[in-house]
């Protein structure tokens, strides 16, 4: 992006430094708006539609199907509705903090899009500290949620905010440890570097590379679910206990910002997991040169959306775990496993030469194991579907 602007300005013959800086600033603002309006907001909106539809089908319901074909424009209707609602700030609430909180949460999510690569060349900024930047920026969400809980002047919101603070801060650690294992294997913090270190075939992905990285994938996924307050870790917004937790008092567009941030965060953690563990945009070399960029983007988005599907699936299947059980899970289980993974990966990187017999055999063995588990799972799903397929229609009026 910067090179593009550079070339453009030199073409126009601009030499004055101040004007350069101003135009750079304006250009970046423009790009940011484009990214925001044309990519993040529709992505979050579409994820919301995706979730409602999948949740409904899992619950024997239909889901949104009126607005647009198959309800595909439902998210636009929801967004417009939120924009038109009254902007309500509770009387005794701290108005400045109340207004700032959704922006902080939104920024915590938006900042991560800078380093997410969609294809070999399509990345906003390939920072050398990519993964570190990701973890730092997502920590803003915790700050935003605490401020939201406190400024609402509502004890239930405060409880939600406190729970969320404890949860996010605790689960930063196992997720960081898992990503560190990946970084150690790839030798670089840059996101593009991590993807280039993997291959296109499933057994060349990071997740199947060593048993430690295999475990790291699950540790990262669980910790990331806790980071974005999704079930089974959605205590901060536990509907049945805290009404809506930290966003009880929010309405209209401020509420929409929280939820946009949540759905876009689903995409972010799926994208990070795809990048770190599932090979990112890598595609088979038989794809012709001309189509490579597009197919790479499609591969990345497809893998991310598969993981988003898993996130949604988990949310609508599992109950919620309690605050103390969640803390126990983090500190007594995930953190030790994360450390073991880290040490194991260090040992592996130091002693096992890459791309030779032992490494390749391990990858293929893990891949076959995972395929076997998936096949067994599909067999059980088929069994369950057949066991309850009796369709009985008892309504005398239909």
């Amino acid at each position: 992006m910067r090179q593009f602007l550079d070339g453009l300005l030199k073409q126009w013959g601009v030499t004055n430094d101040l004007v350069t800086v101003l135009i750079y600033g304006a250009g970046m603002l423009l790009f940011a708006t484009i990214v925001l309006l044309l990519w993040v907001a529709p992505l979050a909106g579409f994820t919301s539609y995706f979730e409602r539809r999948i949740a409904a089908r899992m619950q024997s319901r239909v889901g949104p199907n009126r607005v647009g074909p198959q309800g595909i424009l439902q998210w636009i209707a929801d967004g417009l509705k939120c924009l038109l609602k009254e902007d309500l700030i509770p009387r005794e609430a701290d108005a400045k903090l109340f207004k700032v909180a959704p922006y902080l949460v939104f920024f915590g999510m938006l900042g991560t899009f800078v380093v997410l690569p969609f294809s070999e060349w399509l990345v906003i900024a390939d920072l050398d500290i990519g993964v570190f930047f990701l973890m730092a920026v997502t920590a803003f969400v915790a700050v935003g949620i605490i401020i939201a809980g406190w400024s609402s002047n509502n004890k239930w919101a405060l409880l939600g905010g406190m729970r969320s603070a404890a949860q996010i801060v605790s689960y930063e650690i196992p997720s960081g440890l898992a990503l560190l294992a990946v970084v150690m294997t790839a030798g670089t913090l840059s996101t593009q570097g991590i993807i280039r270190d993997q291959g296109w075939a499933p057994w060349q992905w990071n997740v199947f590379r060593t048993p430690f990285l295999f475990t790291a994938f699950f540790v990262y996924f669980i910790s990331a679910l806790a980071e974005i307050n999704r079930a089974p870790f959605d205590l901060p917004e536990a509907e049945s206990e805290l009404v809506a937790g930290y966003n009880t008092e929010y309405s209209g567009m401020r509420f929409a910002l929280f939820f946009l941030a949540e759905w876009a965060d689903c995409y972010v953690i799926s994208a990070v997991a795809t990048m770190a563990f599932l090979g990112g945009w890598q595609i088979p070399p038989i794809v012709p040169e001309a189509a490579r960029p597009l197919v790479q983007v499609l591969a990345f988005v497809a893998k991310s959306f598969f993981l988003i599907f898993v996130v949604i699936w988990i949310r609508w299947t599992l109950p919620r775990i309690r605050v103390d059980q969640m803390m126990e899970l983090c500190w007594k289980y995930l953190v030790p496993i994360g450390f073991v993974n880290l040490l194991g990966t260090a040992a592996w990187v130091a002693f096992v030469p890459p791309n030779q017999a032992l490494a390749n055999a391990t990858s293929i063995a893990l891949c076959v194991l995972a395929a076997a588990v998936v096949l067994y799972f599909m067999a059980r799903v088929r069994y369950n579907l057949r066991a309850t397929s009796a369709e009985v229609s008892l309504n005398p009026f239909v």
Binding site: S60, R320, L394
Partner: protein
């Protein structure tokens, strides 16, 4: 080091709350997440049903009994009909008794579906609730065909039932019972065996057998604490002595006897037993063909006296105490409901619980506001 000044937080789990079952208010004093005191404040749904009983004729009061517990309306109908019949010595044909019991058991299935569905939803698993409601819709279809209503049935009458069954209804009930047993297995696979669910409920709010009896628990709450008492088997009324069914007891599976998980599992198992009872009664129906289950409409004037009749409703023991002064309206009607007594135990059981556990406790007692407040 100076001691840290902490304050107990006073929270209002107000009448509007997604997880209190109905309009019930709790005034909580908490130390962060741990509850120090929880006072229930009931009465938000008080509708003076008992006073209305003094202003209505005996037959005219039947729709009001639906509203005593609108989730399990058939049981309330049943106990009012039994109470006035005992008071006045009115006879009921066997066909009417069979139809009453079939609809009562279908109502029990419907009520327990709501109970376990909302319990799962309060713990966070939203999916079992629509599954339970889907089955409840089938029960509602059956009951709609026989009496025209889907929630407040007004089906039983003093001396019988309101309408005879439509032809083919009994086959539909059998078809439902067969498919329902498979659905129960699916429900078990979805939520009853779920590890997170068990972690949330096992060993939470244990009520020992002695405590359960002391607090006047009845119904599934009592049986989950290990006390083997079911009015349908121990003080049989109507035709319950002619049907065979098991009474599920809390066995402390994966937890302790009397914990919230037991209260959940007992309700799930009771649904299976209710389907069995309904099936047996439907198979007994053909031998009563030709009997008229609908009583002749007339103004009832039972002799002066009083009587108390109790039955096994899905939420515990529902009893009606009715006093007659010889006229066509009752002199006093009192309804004893299971939820009211369960509510009394919440204050004593709550200190030391976390907020999430309080929600699990209220859900596992299966209290509904209309029963508490009447």
């Amino acid at each position: 080091m100076a001691t840290l000044q902490t304050q107990e937080m006073e929270l209002n789990m107000g009448p509007h709350h997604p997880s209190t079952h109905g309009v019930i208010r709790f005034i909580l004093k908490t130390d962060g997440e741990i509850i120090a005191e929880c006072k229930p404040d009931v009465g938000y749904l008080h509708r003076s049903i008992e006073k209305i009983g003094e202003l209505c004729t005996y037959n005219g009061f039947m729709p009001y009994t639906d509203r005593i517990d609108y989730v399990a309306a058939m049981s309330a109908n049943f106990v009012w009909a039994l109470a006035v019949e005992k008071l006045g010595g009115y006879e009921v044909t066997r066909r009417a008794e069979l139809l009453r019991v079939i609809t009562n058991e279908l109502g029990r299935i419907s009520s327990h579906l709501v109970a376990v569905g909302t319990m799962a939803m309060d713990i966070g698993a939203v999916t079992p609730f629509p599954y339970a409601l889907r089955e409840r819709e089938r029960v509602n279809d059956l009951l709609e065909e026989i009496c025209g209503a889907r929630l407040t049935f007004n089906y039983h009458r003093i001396g019988g039932v309101g309408w005879d069954m439509t032809p083919g209804w009994d086959k539909k009930v059998l078809a439902f019972c067969d498919s329902f047993e498979k659905i129960l297995e699916e429900f078990d696979r979805l939520i009853t065996g779920n590890h997170i669910f068990i972690e949330r409920l096992a060993k939470v709010c244990v009520v020992s057998a002695e405590d359960a009896v002391d607090w006047c628990f009845t119904g599934p709450n009592l049986r989950a604490s290990g006390v083997d008492w079911d009015l349908r088997r121990d003080e049989p009324y109507s035709i319950y002595k002619d049907v065979k069914f098991a009474v599920p007891l809390g066995t402390g599976v994966v937890g302790v006897v009397g914990d919230s998980y037991n209260r959940f599992v007992v309700r799930v198992q009771e649904m299976g037993e209710a389907a069995k009872i309904a099936r047996q009664c439907v198979q007994m129906l053909p031998e009563t063909d030709g009997q008229n289950p609908v009583p002749k409409p007339k103004t009832l004037k039972p002799a002066k006296g009083e009587c108390y009749v109790r039955t096994e409703a899905p939420r515990g023991e529902m009893g009606i105490y009715v006093v007659s002064d010889g006229s066509d309206k009752a002199w006093r009607v009192k309804a004893r409901t299971g939820s009211f007594c369960a509510m009394g135990a919440v204050e004593a059981l709550s200190p030391g619980l976390m907020l999430a556990d309080l929600v699990a406790l209220i859900a596992s007692f299966d209290v509904v506001a209309p029963e508490i407040d009447r």
